[in-house]
Symmetry: C2
Subunit: 367 residues, 2 copies
C-alpha cells in the first residue's frame, strides 16, 4: 500500500521486532538530526543532560501512567531484553532457604527456568509439555512447594500462541515475563513482585526491557552480584547506573504517548480482542481449512498460530501473502505453520486485509 | 554554526554519548521510515530477516576489518555497555584455583574491580590512588600474583584523562576495557584474551558493547551462568541468542564504514594525535592559565582534562563556550574542572574552534 506521504508501507506481522505506528516513525525521523533545535541528535547527547533527562523522566511517567502502575511499584529500564531478566530475577531473589516455581508453558518459560538453575533451587510447578504446550494451567493445577519465593509465569507464549486467560491464583507472589502482552491487558499488580518484558513487540525497538518492581522487596534482595545485575542498584540510580540505551528509551516514550492518545490500556485491550477475534473467526469458519492447535480458552491475542492442510500450502500461503504486502507470517522455525503477530501497533486494517487474503486463498486452493 | 543543509550544528565535546558524523546522522534519517524500499523501518524488522542479517554481518565484518582483528578472535555484540562486561569477564573467566589482577587506574577500573569481587579472587595489581590517578603504571610496577588468569586494564580513563602510553608487558593475558579509546589506536591482539567497550563514545549510539574474544579460550570458560551472560553462548549464537539491539548495530556499521572511508585505524590514530596535541599545546602554552594535572607521558588523546586558575573562571568558561556552540566542556562531577572529549567523530575544526576560544577567553580573563 502507499501511505499519505507516498511511502510504500506493508503490514508487518513479525513476532518481534515488530511493526510501529507510522506517525511515530515519521516524528522520530523528523527530529533525528537536530533534536529540538539543539544542534545535535538526541543520540549524541550526554544522558545526564537536560534533553535526555526530560525524555527519560517522561518515558518513566508515561510507563507508570499508561500501565496503571500503582505507587508501590517502580519502573526500571534495563538493557539485555527479557533474556537478561531470566538471569536477574533469580540472581536477585533466590537465596539458600527459598526456592522458586516456574510454569513451563513453552519455549520462553523453558528459557527462564533453565537460566534460573545456576542461582538457586527452582522447580517446575506445571509442565505443559504433556499437552504439547497448547494451553496454560488452571490455578489448581499449579503445584507450589513450601518456601517458594515466587512463581514465574510467561503470560503469553509467542511461539505456541497461548496466554493465561486468567492470572494464576496462588499463595505466593507472581513474577511474569510479559514481553509479548505488554500494554494489551490490565495487570493485577497486587499479585506481583515483579513484571518484566522486552519492548520490541508492543512498546518500541529492540534493546530495552521495562521492569516493574515492588519497592518493598528491594531491601531484601541479594547484593552479592555485579552492580548492573542488581535491582537495588538500578532502583537507587534511577536506571542510570550506566549509560542507558538512549534511543530505545526515547522511542518507548513515543510509543507510550501514542498508546495513551489512542485511548490507553482499555483501548489497547479492546483492540487486541477485536483484532484477534477477527483472525480466530476466520480460522474457525474455514471448515477446518485453517486450524489453530491452541486450546480455545488459552488463545493468545497477540500471536495467532494456525496451520493449513498441508505444508506446501503453508509455503504457498506465505509466498502469496508476501506478494500482497502481508509480511512475516511464517511460524517459528521450531514449530512450523503460520503465525500472525498482531501487537498494539498493528492497525485493524492489517488484520482485515489478512482475513480477506485468507478467505481468498482458501477459495483458490480448496482441494 | 550552520551546516550545508541549513541545520544548526554545534561542536559537542560530551564524554559519551558523543558526537557522530553529520553524514551518518543524515543517512540514518533518510533511511529511517522505509528501509531500502521494504515498506518498513529497519527497527520494525525481524532480526532473523534478510535485511537485518545483512546489516549484522556487515557490521561484524567491518569491525574485524577496521580494528585489524586477527582470525583467532571473534567479535561479539552484547547489550549492557562496558558495565555488563565488568560482570561477564569474571563470571566467565574466574574459577576456584585462579585469580585476576586489576590495574586500578581510576573510576572505571575501580568499577570493574568491584564488580568482579562476587565471582572469585581478584586483587589490585597497581593502585593509582597514590598519585591521585594522574598516571598509568609502568609494566615493572604491575604486581602479578601466581595463578593469575588475566590482568584487567582500562586503556583510557575518561574521568582522569589518562591512558596507557604503552600496553603493559606482563606474563599473563590482558583483558581491557577500551570504551573510550576504541578504534583510535592499534591493539596488539596477541597480548589479549578479550577486549571490550561500549560503543557510545567512538563507535555509535548507547546500548551496545563490542567484545573481541580469543576463540581458543571459549571452550575453557565457565558454563554455570545464565545464557545471556556466557561468552560461549553468545559466540555459538553469533550474538543472536536473543533479539539484538538492532538500531545500535546498524549505526555501529555506519560508523565503522565512515571510519574506513576516512582512512581507517591509522587515520583515526593520526587524527587523535593531531587533535589532542592542538589542545595540549594550547594548555601548555598558556603560561599556566590552563593546567592539565595529568602526567605528560599518560595524557589521554580522547579526554583532555584541564583546570583554570579559579573555579568561578571554569564556570564562566563553560558558559561562554556554550554560547559559542562549544558544548559539554564541564568536567565529570566527581573531579570538577573542564574536559574536552574528542572522539573519532569530532572534526578537527571543532578542536580548532575550541583552541581559538581558549586563547580568546584567556586574553579576556587574565588577572
Amino acid at each position: 500500500m502507499i501511505d499519505s506521504d507516498d511511502n510504500h508501507r506493508v503490514f508487518n506481522f513479525s513476532a518481534g521486532p515488530s511493526t510501529l505506528p507510522l506517525s511515530v516513525l515519521k516524528e522520530t525521523r523528523d527530529e533525528f538530526v537536530d533534536y529540538k533545535g539543539s544542534g545535535m541528535s538526541l543520540i549524541e547527547m550526554s544522558h545526564r543532560g537536560a534533553h535526555f533527562m526530560a525524555v527519560h523522566e517522561e518515558a518513566k511517567a508515561l510507563a507508570k501512567r499508561v500501565f496503571r502502575c500503582p505507587d508501590d511499584f517502580e519502573v526500571l529500564f534495563v538493557q539485555g531484553g527479557a533474556t537478561l531478566q531470566f538471569a536477574m530475577v533469580p540472581i536477585n531473589f533466590l537465596k539458600s532457604g527459598n526456592r522458586a516455581g516456574y510454569v513451563i508453558s513453552g519455549s520462553w518459560a523453558k528459557g527462564a527456568f533453565s537460566d534460573a538453575k545456576p542461582y538457586g533451587e527452582v522447580y517446575s510447578a506445571f509442565d505443559g509439555a504433556n499437552d504439547n504446550f497448547t494451553r496454560m494451567p488452571l490455578s489448581e493445577e499449579i503445584q507450589i512447594k513450601p518456601d517458594t519465593r515466587y512463581l514465574h509465569i510467561t503470560s503469553n507464549e509467542t511461539i505456541g500462541g497461548i496466554r493465561f486467560p486468567k492470572w494464576p491464583d496462588v499463595d505466593v507472589p507472581l513474577i511474569a515475563d510479559m514481553s509479548s502482552e505488554y500494554m494489551s491487558r490490565p495487570v493485577p499488580f497486587e499479585r506481583f513482585d515483579l513484571i518484566y518484558g522486552g519492548v520490541q513487540k508492543n512498546l518500541g525497538p529492540a534493546g530495552l526491557a521495562v521492569v516493574f518492581i515492588r519497592k518493598s522487596v528491594i531491601a531484601g534482595l541479594n547484593t552479592d552480584a555485579a552492580r548492573y545485575l542488581r535491582y537495588d542498584i538500578q532502583y537507587d540510580k534511577d536506571s542510570m547506573f550506566n549509560t542507558p540505551p538512549v534511543f530505545a528509551i526515547y522511542l518507548l516514550g513515543k510509543m507510550l504517548k501514542w498508546m495513551e492518545g489512542e485511548g490507553g490500556l482499555d483501548a489497547m485491550e479492546q483492540a487486541a480482542e477485536e483484532k484477534s477475534s477477527l483472525l480466530y473467526d476466520a480460522i474457525d469458519q474455514s471448515d477446518n481449512y485453517y486450524n489453530c492447535p491452541v486450546d480455545v480458552s488459552c488463545r493468545s491475542r497477540m500471536n495467532i498460530v494456525f496451520r493449513l492442510p498441508r505444508e506446501e500450502l503453508e509455503t504457498e500461503f506465505v509466498k502469496q501473502a508476501t506478494a500482497s504486502d502481508l509480511l512475516n507470517l511464517k511460524g517459528h522455525r521450531s514449530v512450523g505453520g503460520l503465525r500472525a503477530s498482531i501487537y498494539n501497533a498493528m492497525p485493524i486494517e492489517g488484520v482485515r486485509a489478512l482475513v480477506e487474503f485468507m478467505k481468498n486463498f482458501r477459495e483458490r486452493h480448496l482441494e
